[in-house]
Structures are given as C-alpha cells and as structure tokens.
Symmetry: C2
Subunit: 431 residues, 2 copies
Amino acid sequence: MKSHKHPLVTPTRSVDGGSWAGSRHVSPVETWLFNRLMDLMGDPAVSVHFWDGREHYRCPHSQPVGLMRFMDRTTFWRLLANPTLHFGDSFSAGRIQVEGDLVGFIEAVYDAKVRRTRPGALQALIKRGLMRPGRSNSLSDSRDNIFHHYDLGNDFYRLWLDDEMAYTCAYFADPRMTLEQAQAAKLDHIARKLQLRPGEQVVEAGCGWGGLARHFARHYGVHVRAYNISPSQIAYARERAQAEGLDDRIQYIQDDYRNIRGKYDVFVSVGMLEHVGVRDYKTLGRVIDRSLKDDGRGLIHSIGQNRPEPLSAWTVKRIFPGAYTPTLRQMMDIFENPGFSVVDVENLRLHYAKTLEHWLARYERHEGEVRKMFDDFFVRAWRLYLSASIANFRAGSFQLYQVVFTRPSKHDMAWTRAHLYQGQPPPQPRA
Amino acid sequence: MKSHKHPLVTPTRSVDGGSWAGSRHVSPVETWLFNRLMDLMGDPAVSVHFWDGREHYRCPHSQPVGLMRFMDRTTFWRLLANPTLHFGDSFSAGRIQVEGDLVGFIEAVYDAKVRRTRPGALQALIKRGLMRPGRSNSLSDSRDNIFHHYDLGNDFYRLWLDDEMAYTCAYFADPRMTLEQAQAAKLDHIARKLQLRPGEQVVEAGCGWGGLARHFARHYGVHVRAYNISPSQIAYARERAQAEGLDDRIQYIQDDYRNIRGKYDVFVSVGMLEHVGVRDYKTLGRVIDRSLKDDGRGLIHSIGQNRPEPLSAWTVKRIFPGAYTPTLRQMMDIFENPGFSVVDVENLRLHYAKTLEHWLARYERHEGEVRKMFDDFFVRAWRLYLSASIANFRAGSFQLYQVVFTRPSKHDMAWTRAHLYQGQPPPQPRA
C-alpha cells in the first residue's frame, strides 16, 4: 500500500520560537484580524473558537451552522497568511477541527462568498500564491498531474465509486436513483444528446476507467476509441472490456488527447477538460475539428464556474495539480475557431452535489480500509476534498456544464429536446 | 402610406461614362475576377449570368441550385467593390435578378461560406465598409434605429405576423403547428423554463407589440412591466391589454431598458439583444443585477452566431441599423460580472428558419397590399431580407439562443428539464 508523506506539515512550531507563541492568551489584534477576514468573506454563518477554547467569531446575522476550532496559534497565523492553502492542510493535519456537519460548515463559508455580488478585496487577498488559470499543461506535466490523482490505486477508488468506476457527475433523472442507476442514466442522457446510431465511430478524450465506452458499445452498438494517459486506468479498462466481450468494439489507447488520430462521427469528453489548461482549449478545438466528419457532433462535460477564478491553492496542491474549472466564456475557446454550433448547454450542478454525497457516504463507510492504505493526513484530506466539493456545488460556486456542439451546417439534429425525456433508457449495464 | 426613398439607387450610369461601360461585351478580366470571388466564397452551388446573357460562373463541384443575372456592367462592378452591401441594393433595384427559389439560391451561397472552416481572405474582403460590432448604441441612436424598423407601421407587420404580432422566433414543439400555435408554444416554453408562479413580478426588456406580457399575465397569473422604446408598438400593446382586460396586471412603459426600475422575480427579454450594442452587454448585466430579487432568474432570447462577425452591410443599412448578433461568448458579458449561473442554453435555429418560412409565405400572399404601402424597391428588399434570413438560419450562419440564468445560489430550480416536455401547455391565447 502507498503512503503519502507530507513534509510541509511538520509538528507545530512557534512562529518566533518565543514564549508568545506558546501562550494560550489570544490578543485583541488576533481577534480583530480574524473578524476582519470574516467580514471580507461575507460573514459566513459559523462560529470559530481559538486555542484558548473560547469563541472569537460568531456570524452577526444568523445562527451558526457549524463550529470550527484552531488548535494552536501557529495554525491561526498560517491561515491568515494563505487561507485557501492552509485551511486544507491544517484541517488534514488535525490542527483545525470542525465539529458536526463538515459539508454544512463549508457550505456556509462558500454561500457567504457567492452572495457577495462583487469580487472585492477578498479576491486580491486569497489569490496570493494561487495557480495561474492561464497556464498550459505540457504533455509531461499532464502525465505527472494525472498520475498524482488517478494513480492513487484502483483499489482506493473502488471503495467509494460505483461498480463501473465513473468518477464524474451522475445524472439523477429521478432523485431516488441509486448511484449505479444515476451513473448509467448519465451515460444514456449523453448518448441521447449525441443521437448515437449503431455502427458509428466515437472518439473519447479522457476515458477514466472506460465506463462510457463500455456503455456506448454495449447499448448503442457504436465503436469507441478511448484515450487516457493514466496507465492504471487504461489497464483496468482493457481488462474489463475483454472480460465483458466488448473488445471488438472498443480500443483503449494510452495517449494524450492531442495525439488523437482518425475521423469520427462523434467526439465525447467527460471530466477531462478540468485537466486541460485554458491555453490549450484552442488546441482541443483543433483536435476536435480535425477528428470530426462533416456531419459530426460532440459533447463536453466539465465542471465550470460563473466567473474566472483559480481553484483553491489547497485543491491544486494536494488534490488536482494543474486543474482548472472554466467559465462558459472560456469554454467557447474550444468551439469558436472551428465554427462549431453550440446546440445545447445543461447545468447539472445539483446533480454533482448529490453524486458527491453518495461518494462521501461510501468513503466514510470504508474509512477503515482507506486508513490501511494511507495515513491520517490523507484520510482527512480526502474527507475535506469530497465535503468541500459538495459545498461548492450546493452553494453555486461550481457548475457542471454539458455542452453539445455540431458542425455549423449539420441539419439533422433533433427538432426539439423532447426525445431526451421520453421512452425508456436501455436496461442497466450490469445485473 | 409611407414611401421609402432610396437616393443612392439612381438609374444605371457607366463607371467611366464611356462606351466601354455601355458595351454588352464581357471582358476576360471580368470573368476571371468574378470566378476568383466565387472561389473565395467557397464556390457556391449556383450559376451566374452576365449582362451579355451568357453564363460566366458555374459551381465546379455540384449542380447549381439557382441562377442569378447581372442586368448591367455597373451593377457587376458595384458588387465587386462591396458584395454584401450591393447585392442587396442591386437586387432590390431589380438590377440583379434571381430565377427560381430565392431562399435556395442564398442558402447555397451561405452554405459554401459556412463550410469554409477558416475565416480567410474573404473575411478581409467583405468586411470593407461594414459596421463595427463593438459599437455602442446611445439612447438617441437606439431610438432612431428602432423607429427605422419597428415604426414602419403596425399595418405592415399585421399583414404577415401572427395575430399576437410576435416578431421573434416561434417554437414548433410539433413541426406541423400553425404559426399562431408555435408562437404561443414559444411563450409557454419560456414560461416553463422560468417556472413562473402566480403573483410573481416579471420585467420584460424590449416587449415588441406586447404579446409575451399578455400571454404571461393571462395564463400564468403574473404581473408584467414591459419596456419598449417604440411608440407605435407601445400604443398597440396598451390598447390590446385594455381591450382584453389585462391592464390591471400589465404595465407597458415607453422607455429604454437602461431605465428599468424596481425589483422583480423574473427578467425576460425576447429579441431585444440584437439591438443592444456589444459594449452595452455589461450595462444590461448591471440592469438585470439591480432588478432581480435574491432568488431571481431570467431568460434572454436572441439571434446569435458561431463566430463574431458583423451583420451584412446591407442588413445594417437597409433593415436593422445598429443591429448585431452576438456569439455565446459575447453574451457572457451580460452574465459573468453579476456572477449569474447559466443553467440552460437551447439553440432553436431551425425553428427560426421555419418561422421565417411562414412569414415569407404570408408576405408573398399580401404582396399587393405591401405594394400599396411602399415602392418596388421596398417590396423586393423585404423579400430579400426574409429570404436571406431563412437561408442564414438553415445554413447555420445564424443561431437562435435561449439562455436561462439564475442567481448563483438559487437552489430551487427544476431538478431536470423533463417538465418542459411533459403535460399540456395552457390553452391557446385566442379562440
């Protein structure tokens, strides 16, 4: 089993080594500074206790939905210096503790931020030290970034994903669906949006563990070439396609989307765009343009946001190096140069919140097994990541866009979208 | 009745006054130049005859779908100097004639252009003398521009619009619908997207002849304040609301959208954005932001395009001064600053082609009446405008976007879009 080391998180040391840092006394300056930060953050509906055990911030407008504790002064000052980075690391190290509902606590913080209509001083403050959203990921960067996340081991993801290993937003056509049903419903929703016809050629960029290709080949009779740079995901996908007798219709290719070759009826990419640097969106557009036949069409499914802001420094550092969630405007870099028509955009953000709720519940059920694979820091970090993601989608700071596009002169798209909501989807992929 | 004078369209004069221009002989240079222009335009599937009565261009790839004639040499040279402006004026003056299906002819031209993936030399050529897309419309410009088009007289539009006077894309939920049914279906589609609830306050920017406000007030029990700067449209709208007993729920206000005051649950604008300069999209966003309550939502319905290009010089000069059709990227200027969530984008371009087919058929049926109101130039110009619009929407050079947006933290939007396609819409507005 792998062990993740976090050398930056050393045992508490006082900032100046003197007795001041060791004192449990909270100075009025510390209280004032923290309340100023909360003010800039829109006064989230939370309560915050300091290392003296006493409450030093309480939302002035509404009942706190959660309580957070600084375990020591050093953590407090680290947080002030770079809140988005050090909240995550300090939480993971157990030096910030949240009592009660973690998701609700984070949601209160995001909600206050989202309700601030104008990006203000806080933006300038929290952008310190964050990634540049415009950075481009080279082929080798991309490999390193993807290894960091997706090669934590299939055994780890198997603990809390559905049995097809879909690691993207599901579609709860009915909110009572199981996670398995909703992941299959997502694939059917996409297949219907793309109006797949038997025998067509589909290319997929960023195929994860290969579930979309299996579902499309099995239920829609299409041929799929699916690209992914993660070796452990590709190995898993090939094994399953073979075991399920689908390897005559699916080719899993361990390569970058920029190396896609051939001509296809359909281009599809679910949850890869977050790992494509904004500067490469035009490249992606060129790849799609040269890959699509004259009557081709496609769909891109990606996390997005309303305004262009970097992901939190902590997320980029610990969870998704090189990741970025685009605005719809930025996504148009993909479609505009090749002159594609955008025919449908659907925002499924609340479906992602629900998907993540299922993942978090399964993660918590399997905490003991995760703990055998990784250290405490990792266990808490992933709890925070899943919880914060739920909060982001609920509060509306993250969106989930499905964008359908066609060649500009394609005329035989569906007359309305009614067909997406009529009739039965194909049977579930596995009994 | 009004008469439109077109001083620029004087009787044919030779370009140099000599016998060369009067000669019916076509020089090899003229043939070569024209074929070069056709090449730049992607070799449209048409045939072109010159003033000597002979064919000098024929599509090298496919059977021509239409035939165009230059009636004289001067018209030919004018067209070369500024094709997008002078095609329209020369057609309207009868100096360019198209035999057979005018829509099919124009569609062949647009189709060739749309299929050229990269904007190239042609772009540079045809942009000569065109409007700047970035221009802003001042309040008085806006008034002049709107008067030019919408104050041609209600009697004129009544000849070929539906009986609610909707001058925007209809929604043919079923392609066999009548125009009247499809215009009502469009309003129901919008009402469902907005999830209108009885008693809510709606503000409409650019209300035309007021049909949306009447439909919403009558069938959804909401209160509507509808803004429009066209006096003849407002007068018509007020009269009808009173006659139909809706004036307790509708206020028609003769004013610019920038002067909207008050707080509303819903913002809606159908077919106004085309008259808002791109530079004012952020202003429009601010107007919406200050007008919407905390759980507000809205819809903007507008003609759009895949890449940012000005409307044809002729359209801007003769039909829609100050008009521009934005890309989705440009539309994001409205939503991004106030941090709105875009929750749904639908592209209804083929529905606009069908709407225009209905309008053109009615226009042709009433040609005799139009001819009593306006001169021949006007009659042909409007035939060209309606035909070219059909061709633009069919060929995919125009799009029709309906964009639904909400406050970022609004959580009670519909879980899926299935409700748009279920159950019966309310009964038709008029027996």
